[in-house]
């Protein structure tokens, strides 16, 4: 269903970048996160993904038609919800399996793309 409100682009980030004090650590920030599924609770619909020894919680209650397989890579798009004591969870609105994604290529390309974006803004 087409959203009537303006959809903000979800900025791709690494899990290690979502920490207190980071430019991405803001209430309601639209983010895209990637990691391997480590845990999933059917009762709460909360998934835990991990990348480079950093784990992160995803609320998947709004997702449909997405199966959860431990060890598979997932990418989620949603809004950051910061709880008391700086605990963060992503309220996912879109999710997909990205098995086969080369994490090193992805991380390096992400840095290059950010550099290119800043060049576009400053030119």
């Amino acid at each position: 269903m087409m959203a009537t409100s303006i959809i903000k682009p979800a900025v791709p980030v690494l899990l290690k970048e979502i920490e207190s004090g980071s430019q991405f650590f803001k209430q309601g920030a639209s983010l895209r996160v990637t990691g391997m599924l480590h845990a999933y609770s059917e009762d709460t619909a909360v998934a835990v993904i991990a990348d480079a020894n950093i784990s992160f919680k995803i609320n998947t209650v709004h997702l449909r038609d997405l199966s959860f397989r431990f060890g598979s890579y997932y990418q989620f798009i949603g809004e950051l919800h910061i709880l008391p004591e700086d605990v963060a969870i992503l309220q996912a609105r879109v999710g997909r399996i990205v098995d086969g994604l080369d994490p090193n290529l992805y991380n390096q390309s992400l840095q290059l793309r950010r550099q290119f974006e800043s060049e576009l803004v400053n030119s």
Binding site: I7, K8, Y73, Q75, R93, G95, D99, F116, E117, L120
Partner: protein, 196 residues
């Protein structure tokens, strides 16, 4: 001179597929002023889907001449068609159109796919309708898609794409490779397109 003209004709056949390569080859055969003249006359980017990240797409300059359709420019280079790769984050089926939004992480591009049934106009139109319907069926929330289309100025949404074709990418690395394509082409081709 006639051989040179013949060479221009032969090379021009390849221009819409690889304008940069053709330009490089031609620059060895002809003075740069001649090459520029040829390429400007041909409007090479009219037939090419320019690869832009959404931030670049939304930075296009819009010219609205009186009594004519709007035109779009990237740093002086006119752009007609654009290709984008991103995740479908919204989808709506209204009447004969499928409207969806592609998020590539730098912006959300509104795309419109016409699925009007034109089968009464002949076999070619029937095939075209069938292709559009099949493509529309593949567009789902969360899918990584590659969209090619014409730039339009939509009421209320600004720049958008009238979809020519949409393809669901199975390999997640295609998005990463697309980012690299956008950066490489911007620096090696698009940034120099209007310079002598």
């Amino acid at each position: 001179m006639s051989r040179r003209v013949a060479a221009i004709v032969v090379l021009s056949l390849h221009v819409s597929y690889c304008p940069v390569l053709s330009r490089l080859v031609m620059s060895h055969l002809f003075p740069s002023s001649t090459v520029n003249l040829i390429f400007n006359k041909m409007n090479v980017f009219r037939a090419v889907h320019v690869k832009l990240i959404a931030r670049d797409f939304f930075s296009l300059t819009i010219h609205i001449p009186p009594n004519y359709a709007p035109t779009f420019f990237r740093r002086g280079m006119q752009v007609w068609r654009v290709e984008t790769v991103g995740v479908v984050v919204s989808k709506e089926h209204t009447g004969d159109y499928l409207r969806f939004i592609v998020d590539d992480g730098t912006g959300c591009i509104h795309c419109i796919l016409d699925i009007t049934d034109h089968s009464d106009l002949g076999l070619a139109a029937e095939v075209e309708t069938e292709i559009a319907l099949r493509e529309a069926a593949t567009v789902e929330l969360g899918k990584l898609v590659r969209v090619r289309g014409m730039i339009k100025l939509g009421a209320g949404v600004g720049l958008q794409l009238t979809v020519r074709d949409v393809l669901v990418e199975r390999d997640p690395n295609m998005e990463t490779l697309y980012w690299m394509d956008c950066i490489r082409l911007a620096k090696s081709c698009y940034d120099h397109a209007t310079r002598p």
